[in-house]
Subunit: 133 residues, 2 copies
């Protein structure tokens, strides 16, 4: 299981408990297994991700993890940290700015932007950031 | 492996070969295994996705698959069908309009919108559509 930042229990935060500007993070260091599993579950067998011989010839010179894997990390931060369990994800605008590969540590950060109590929905900004080993 | 629409070989289409309006699709019928694997690879253990007892009490009355799984299907359509192998995904604007659950068939469709030969990058529209069994 994906356990680097796992808690024994996960608990949601209600709208009343959250404050504008509040943040939560989830980090993971990319492994070959992550790339293989993501290819298996989505069918994304692009050789950019799964064929080291091909990837050595392309613009990044190495295999990179599927960008949508990083967005799964954002989803996980929303669904397990802030607001946490029970969160329904409604939308996301994504730009894949940097390639990430095995050994890179990716951190998904979600930040509460406003708290429309009437609509009971949340607008958060989310980003992933990577650190190369 | 994810094999419902798999080809024995995948081949990319060059900018010269593609036409504006061209489309490609990738379909998959959601299984419990997809939800479990996606939770494993992303850490998205939101009970909305993995706890049937909780999910029975929420707005959808059943577990739903992670929305980002569907976006992985879009990534797979781009990376294996159109333009195909070697595609680098740069961005996506997402709206999760309908919940999808076990037994629902999801189709990711990508459509060529324009062909800026100078920039050598592609703007496509992409959508997922679901059919309930």
């Amino acid at each position: 299981m994906f356990d680097e930042t796992a808690d024994l229990f996960i608990e949601n935060r209600t709208f009343e408990e959250m404050a504008v500007g509040e943040t939560a993070c989830l980090s993971h260091t990319v492994t070959q297994r992550d790339i293989d599993l993501f290819a298996t579950v989505t069918g994304d067998l692009n050789p950019t991700h799964v064929d080291p011989a091909y990837a050595a010839t392309d613009m990044f010179h190495r295999i990179i993890i599927q960008g949508m894997w990083g967005t799964g990390l954002i989803s996980a931060a929303l669904g397990t940290k802030l607001p946490g369990p029970g969160t329904i994800y409604l939308g996301q605008d994504l730009r894949f700015a940097h390639p990430a590969s095995i050994g890179d540590t990716i951190t998904a950060t979600v930040r509460e932007k406003n708290l429309p109590r009437v609509m009971r929905s949340l607008t958060a900004s989310a980003a992933t950031k990577w650190v190369r080993p």
